[in-house]
């Protein structure tokens, strides 16, 4: 019973939890509460905010312009999550079924980006995707090769290569977000697949199912909790993504976080920015609530 003592000994419990609790209250709950209060106020001068209890900020947030940006942010985040899932699932499977010798190295490969600053990674990606970047150079080489083959078989060569616009558009934002968020998807998927009893896969093969059918009917359903976790852990940060659309997006690819940033900085409209922030937070709450409800369902039968 010794390991339960800390639960019964209230003083120990308090001593252990107090610093964390204080930290959370001081640096999370209170600032959030201030922002929440701001969202019911209005600007009364350059540095003054009048907390009048108005709902105008929320009303303004439901204007079509902002709803459109919210909608687009959701669409981009959903697309990013879907691509991460499609790309990440085979990666997670490969790591799970890799030999003992290779697995730690493959996992390291997935984790490595976490140890590099996001800004550095984003700029690195921009260098690759730029007009003179390696992506364009590679495409140019392919183009040249295709052109050469065409002349070889007596056809007209292809027109001169025009560098493709791979940056500062919606493609760049989605690409960049997938690049940043892929590890978030792969790790929970790997955790779920690693727990999967291998003999279930073998039993399916033994009963005549091929590999594809085994994946669709045994592996995917049993990895569902990991898939849900991966989707949430990818979708939520992707929804609030700020840096990637800011650096890699064009004028038409701003996401809601960029709009919020503008309210706090350029527009100096803190109350409206606060309202937008809280709408985003509420949306995330709803997503998390949906997920936890879903998790309870299978236990009911």
């Amino acid at each position: 019973m010794a390991e339960q003592d800390w639960k019964t000994n209230k003083r120990v419990f308090a001593a252990v939890s107090l610093p964390t609790l204080l930290w959370t209250i001081l640096f999370f709950a209170i600032p959030m509460a201030i922002v929440w209060v701001y969202s019911f106020g209005q600007n009364a001068g350059l540095n003054e905010i009048d907390i009048s209890g108005t709902l105008d900020n929320y009303k303004r947030a439901t204007e079509w312009l902002y709803l459109g940006i919210f909608g687009k942010s959701f669409a981009v985040a959903a697309l990013v999550t879907l691509i991460c899932l499609i790309v990440g699932f085979p990666v997670a499977m490969a790591i799970t079924f890799a030999s003992e010798k290779w697995r730690p190295w493959l996992l390291l490969g997935i984790m490595l980006p976490f140890w590099t600053n996001l800004l550095v990674r984003t700029y690195a990606l921009m260098i690759i995707l730029g007009q003179q970047g390696y992506a364009n150079k590679g495409l140019e080489a392919l183009w040249g090769g295709a052109s050469w083959i065409k002349t070889l078989i007596g056809l007209q060569p292809l027109p001169t290569w025009e560098p493709a616009q791979l940056l500062f558009n919606n493609f760049a934002v989605v690409f960049g977000l997938v690049y940043v968020h892929l590890p978030f998807m792969v790790l929970p998927l790997y955790a779920a697949l690693d727990r999967l009893d291998r003999s279930l896969v073998e039993a399916s093969l033994d009963l005549g199912a091929g590999h594809f059918r085994t994946i669709m009917r045994i592996v995917v359903p049993l990895a569902a909790p990991g898939i849900v976790a991966g989707v949430m852990i990818t979708l939520i940060p992707a929804l609030g993504a700020y840096l990637t659309p800011d650096l890699m997006g064009g004028t038409d690819s701003q996401m809601i976080a960029n709009v919020i940033e503008r309210q706090f900085k350029k527009a100096n409209d803190w109350p409206f920015g606060a309202a937008l922030s809280f709408i985003l937070i509420y949306a995330m709450f709803i997503l998390i609530a949906l997920q936890s409800m879903r998790r309870k369902v299978p236990e009911l039968h």
């Binding site: 003999s199 073998e202 033994d206 005549g208 199912a209 091929g210 059918r213 045994i218 359903p221």
Partner: protein, 377 residues
């Protein structure tokens, strides 16, 4: 055996499986006959499961050939082999009902509609799970889940059913019951069963033939009673059942009799030849239940009645150093005059038999001339 010679359904020919440098299965050749209940018996890590998994197709032999029903299995994946496997963990799909589990293979094979339902009901009836169609696996006991796994494999009507340690996860009572049920089931469906186990009781009670595997090699292949009564070597004698083994020298070897002089046990007489070189180092194996125990006084009379060896042979004296009462039998550990120890079991034929002897009693022992087994390796 009055049956007509059966044809082999599985032929394992010079099969070796290496994991790195270690040979898990080392040049094994054996035939498994159609319709038999074949058991691969051996300690953990002896390669028996690897052998089973090679038959199923989950492991590929490094060398050698496996034929199922005359067809070479090289390059044929598990899902195309005419065998099905019951896994040690049962591997019942946790997200599917019992009916969906059992129907899984049939649906993949393209069977549709009413036939699926009929065959699922039939298979569940066979394993005594009729009416459990809508249960989920997590609502079932281990024994029931195993029956689901059995039904799921049997519904495929495989040529061979492979069972990996089928009873290891069950409690003792259920295990004894399932031993009989599995044997019955095999009789009923007529499918060849190949079972892997490390439990000799399980093997002896269910098998028609047993291959004892040791360090990747077949130590002996025999019927259960031959394996027990005529073990081929010390490993088999020791692994199957309980046994006393004494080292000795062969002093007499004729077609109808033989004698071994054991430093530990004394002079041992056998009423058959052993075809070993005279003076060779051999081992004598003597099962605890084949030794008669009596108090020194009455020993002579008992011996006179049952003795079939010359005077001075197949007889030993000692002192009881340990006793364990097991209900049906009492197990004695006796220190012989030579200082060696021997185990003797004695059936408790009447309610008070266990009171006949106690610690430190001086006792004498004798055994029949057909009881000891002489082992050359």
């Amino acid at each position: 055996m009055t049956d007509a010679p059966k044809k082999p359904i599985i032929q394992i020919q010079n099969v070796t499986k290496r994991f790195g440098k270690v040979a898990a299965v080392d040049n094994v050749s054996l035939d498994i006959l159609a319709g038999e209940f074949f058991v691969l018996l051996g300690p953990s890590g002896c390669g028996k499961t690897t052998l089973l998994r090679m038959i199923a197709g989950f492991e590929l032999p490094t060398e050698g050939t496996i034929l199922i029903d005359g067809q070479d299995m090289a390059g044929i994946p598990p899902n195309k082999r005419p065998v099905n496997m019951v896994f040690q963990s049962y591997a019942v799909f946790p997200h599917m009902s019992v009916a969906d589990n059992v129907a899984y293979g049939l649906k993949i094979a393209g069977v549709r509609g009413g036939e699926v339902k009929d065959r699922v009901a039939e298979a569940l009836e066979l394993v005594k799970l009729g009416g459990f169609e809508d249960r989920m696996p997590d609502q079932m006991s281990g024994g029931q889940r195993q029956r689901v796994a059995l039904a799921r494999s049997l519904i495929m009507r495989p040529k061979v059913l492979l069972l990996d340690e089928p009873l290891s996860a069950l409690d003792a009572k259920l295990r004894a019951q399932m031993q009989f049920e599995l044997a019955d089931l095999q009789d009923q469906v007529g499918i060849t069963f190949v079972t892997v186990t490390h439990d000799q009781d399980e093997a002896l009670s269910m098998a028609s033939r047993i291959a004892v595997i040791n360090k990747g090699d077949v130590s002996q292949l025999a019927t259960p009673s031959d394996l027990y009564e005529y073990p081929a070597n010390r490993f088999v004698a020791d692994f199957v059942g309980s046994v006393n083994i004494f080292e000795g020298k062969l002093t007499l070897d004729e077609p109808d009799k033989a004698a071994v002089d054991c430093a530990g046990l004394g002079k041992v007489y056998l009423n058959h030849g052993v075809t070993g070189p005279h003076g060779a180092d051999v081992w004598v194996a003597l099962r605890p239940e084949k030794i008669y125990l009596h108090v020194p006084g009455e020993g002579k009379a008992v011996r006179a009645a049952a003795q079939d060896a010359p005077e001075g042979y197949n007889f030993a004296r000692g002192k009881i150093k340990g006793m364990s009462y097991l209900g049906d039998i009492t197990l004695f550990e006796i220190e012989l005059e030579s200082g060696a120890r021997i185990r003797v079991s004695r059936p408790n034929l009447s309610r008070h038999d266990q009171e006949d002897f106690t610690w430190d009693d001086k006792v004498s022992m004798h055994w029949r001339a057909d009881s000891p087994v002489v082992l050359l390796s």
